[in-house]
Symmetry: D2
Subunit: 335 residues, 4 copies
């Protein structure tokens, strides 16, 4: 029991909505990008990663988004398709938009950065009229990724999707996923993220992301419990506050909270993808009806696997891999 | 008693938010504009007109908006000031924006049109950060004019103002005021007007405006009562559906409704300004605590005076003028 | 004889190219615009004024430009038509552009200013493909107004028109008409005005306008004669340097120059329109084959008449009016 | 003797102006890009390639351009620096622009395509005021790359550079390098390329590029000789018309022309870079004072080497490599 009730008669467990991008990961790592010679391409973008995570865990998933009408757009769509992610609502742009790119630079496991290409990207061209009510109503849950709010017309598409989800009792999960690019100001971010958060059942964000959402209305003191409480007064039933290397705290509407640490990784290659793999596995747990503590542990173990790998999407683990890690970890801890 | 409870300890009765423009009314009327030689200038814009109406009726009013840094901007601000409208939150633009213009063409009392200048207008440049919480909390009621939602950053300023108004129990009145200019699509209009309407206590719109708001989510059948009901499930306590020459229907949350006709005008010059004068006088009635039927009659009488005049803002009547008209009208009717 | 040879077998004497606008002149003058109540509308825009001047002097004229698809656009086109100005290459915009506006403020005869509306104006939407070679080749001379260079696609239309004019030996006259609005920087102005001036037979500009054109390439010392010389090395045969209230100097390629004063006006109302009326009458003289001194005097007399009137375009004088003034002036001087 | 006289007292032989980009070349070739896993990064962009070609041939070179303020911009600048290309006039953007990208897709040696990223690119942000007169006057020749004309402010920077080059007798070479992206229409391309070509000493373009330049003014019949003649009437002394796989024709102002074939490549990997390597080696020959026939042969041999390699810039050959190939080829031909 975890406070979330999913409609059981649904064809899909989960739909992701938002960014579909290409990650170009440096092959020669532990150096500045200037000295990198080659890059490997992967599907990327936070909601894409989360959906892929769920698909690899065995959930029946789908996606709502927009891709460019070129080789990269086709690659993304066919990659999702191969993972059995339903792409019927992945629209192809016809205005000359491009696929967003993220070139990763890994100077050291703790000094990573990203060179983004976000001008005229297809994912932000998704229009309200392209969101299919008939698709949304088939799902138990939908994930709204906050970057999709960063500009029009994608922003309106999000509000449209939320309208449909509410109408059909689809559980709405909001991953704030705040990235500075594209947003005009933090005030703008706060206004739209708050308008969305108000209507969501589950809210997942880092402490700094909640801080941005609170710059206009306060409260002055940044306090996880107060933050969660604010949203429980609206629609939220679960609020997850992420604290990076210090783990996460999950609050539930009944007043409960669960502090979770991170799983020690064998060999951290980079920090990218930790949040997405956590979110994917956590949501998977919710769908199974697990207690939030178990969801949280499952998420942390998944993150630990991804940070030890070269990619984000490709490295998303299976249930077995996660369970093995948890088992191993417990064995070690009990020695 | 009219279902709306105003906080009584407030310094201001009413704040308008949105467009501040210049009307340039043809002096030589009953002909196409091509043959007009001269124009007379007035302050215009729907929320400006409504606020002026309330000021002339004796209410203590203020305004939140943005004006151009030129002769027209200064004229508007000084005009409001002369009517005792508090302009402390009327900001001056410094980006080179201009004042919106409306050249009116009066071919006949029933064939009027407007030539709009809405490129790079100051009113749509109002930013969220420029809306003063300290000003809003001094008022009993705030009017949100829908055109302020038509583009950013003014759109965000509206959401900001609503956030402050809710926080301080300021009654929120939404005048949809849908004008095609500036909006990208009807879907966009529907999405943002619905996000606002959800949070308002009083909603005033024409039937066609409600139709636009309902294009996405339905209902299929356009029905005034169903429209009102939808909003009573959210925050609304009063919904006014305007039917142009056929009057208006006012719905109240307790299930009541009041059908109101229009007042016969002595000599209709043009139809501009009818809606704004109605809204101003209707809101004045709410502030007095009058029953909605009385508010409605007061509004209709006010509209009848304005359509018989050359201007909108300048022609807004006093309480005495409206009461005289109502008295006269009753006398005639009883003969 | 004036150094310019016009092709004599042409149907039209003159074609103007560029801005077609509306002037809204304050009726209540000698006060700030804030206190102006009414405005009178006239056709305006420098090349429009010059073409109207020539039409009123009896030249056979035409125009190349673009007007908005509304009442103001139709008013402009019909006004030109009434003056027998050939409007076959006055195109109507269909993108929702508006007519540029100039509200004039006359605080005193020497303190005048203009409030411009230049956002999304139709005149700057003229496209290269809309300029008719077949129309240009019918004319003796074409006037390029520098404001048409201020942005694309009108800028490209100018270069297209010049290409056609050169091909068909149409005399090219360049009126720099530098207005700060729309241009991004003085460097940009200099670059494009120089690219045009290089290809022109007659160049007319104020001293300050030549200064802008010389900011990139010098010469350091601002000297009328050096300025003129620079263009005589390219295509120019006549260079007119205007000095406002101090009159003008006309340089000719053969090394000649003529200093001209201004005509005393009976009662100066405003300074607007002085330059356009001068240019129109000066070009009229060139077309008659008059010596430049006589063209210059004719221009100055025309300017004197216009500054004594309320409008620019409407007040452009006839040959008779100008000749009367010159005669009168000579009579007075000889006393 | 080749009709071009270079000022001999110059510190630099050659300056390139325009695009500085990144090529990301598919490592797994002969397949659609969807199936490519990794990409190798190189410096790219036509004028960059030509300048690199000249640097590798031993010419003293420099560059005028703008790079992004990120890892890619720093990589480009340091790469040029390592080849002794003078980068003092390579400006760093500070507006958030990115480096243009070209992902190459090599399906087969004859079926290659490029996926371009050209939104908000740094190279098109070069401003007129950033072009250094003091740098240009140190060179014998400057190359204008047509893509730099595709939009403002880079377009104005080109005209500025030409103004300086003319002032200081720097030979101006125009490589039309027409790419559809960024240009609004072919008419726009024609107008600006013609304005530049008018002022150039050497013009290099493919037949299809000259066709675009002639769409407005004709001539109707596309004829290489007529095309060349048109420019000889202005400033041009040499006009090179490229015919892809059929080689090139070089026209000289004295009426001469030289037909040149292509060099058979041992193993063609892709066609990218053929034109740039030809241009680089051809210009190198002009700088040596070689007859145009010899320049042409040198250019063709260079192209043959580049199309047999994986990259463009990195593969630019040395004088020795080109001479070896020519010698080998003659030996084979004479058998």
């Amino acid at each position: 029991m975890n406070h979330i009730t999913f409609q059981q008669d649904r064809e899909l467990d989960f739909i992701g909505l938002g960014r579909l991008c290409i990650d170009l990961n440096a092959n020669e790592i532990n150096r500045p990008m200037e000295e990198t010679l080659t890059f490997t391409k992967y599907v990327g973008g936070s909601p894409a990663n989360i959906t892929i995570a769920l698909a690899k865990l065995g959930a029946r998933t789908g996606f709502i988004g927009k891709v460019s009408d070129d080789q990269f757009g086709r690659f993304i769509k066919s990659y999702l398709h191969k993972l059995n992610i339903d792409t019927r609502n992945v629209v192809t742009d016809h205005t000359g938009a491009v696929t967003g790119l993220a070139f990763t630079e890994i100077k050291s496991p703790t000094d990573c950065s990203i060179l983004m290409y976000r001008n005229n990207v297809a994912d932000l061209k998704l229009e309200a009229g392209e969101v299919q009510e008939d698709f949304i109503k088939r799902a138990k849950a939908i994930l709204i990724s906050g970057t999709a709010l960063a500009s029009s017309p994608s922003r309106e598409a999000v509000f449209q999707a939320i309208e449909y989800a509410r109408k059909h009792q689809v559980v709405i999960i909001f991953d704030v996923d705040y990235r500075r690019w594209t947003w005009k100001s933090k005030e703008e971010t706060a206004i739209y993220c708050n308008l969305v958060a108000e209507q969501c059942d589950v809210i997942i964000a880092g402490r700094e992301e909640f801080d941005v959402m609170e710059i206009v209305t306060g409260p002055e003191v940044k306090d996880d419990s107060a933050t969660a409480q604010r949203w429980f007064e609206r629609q939220a039933k679960i609020v997850v506050v992420k604290h990076g290397g210090d783990g996460s705290i999950v609050f539930t509407k009944d007043g409960g909270s669960s502090q979770g640490g991170i799983f020690p990784a064998k060999q951290v290659i980079k920090t990218f993808g930790a949040g997405d793999s956590f979110a994917g596995a956590f949501i998977y747990g919710l769908l199974q009806g697990w207690p939030v503590e178990k969801c949280q542990e499952f998420g942390s173990a998944s993150a630990s696997i991804v940070v030890s790998s070269h990619s984000c999407s490709d490295a998303m683990p299976t249930v077995e891999q996660i369970e093995n890690l948890i088992r191993e970890h417990r064995a070690n801890s009990s020695i």
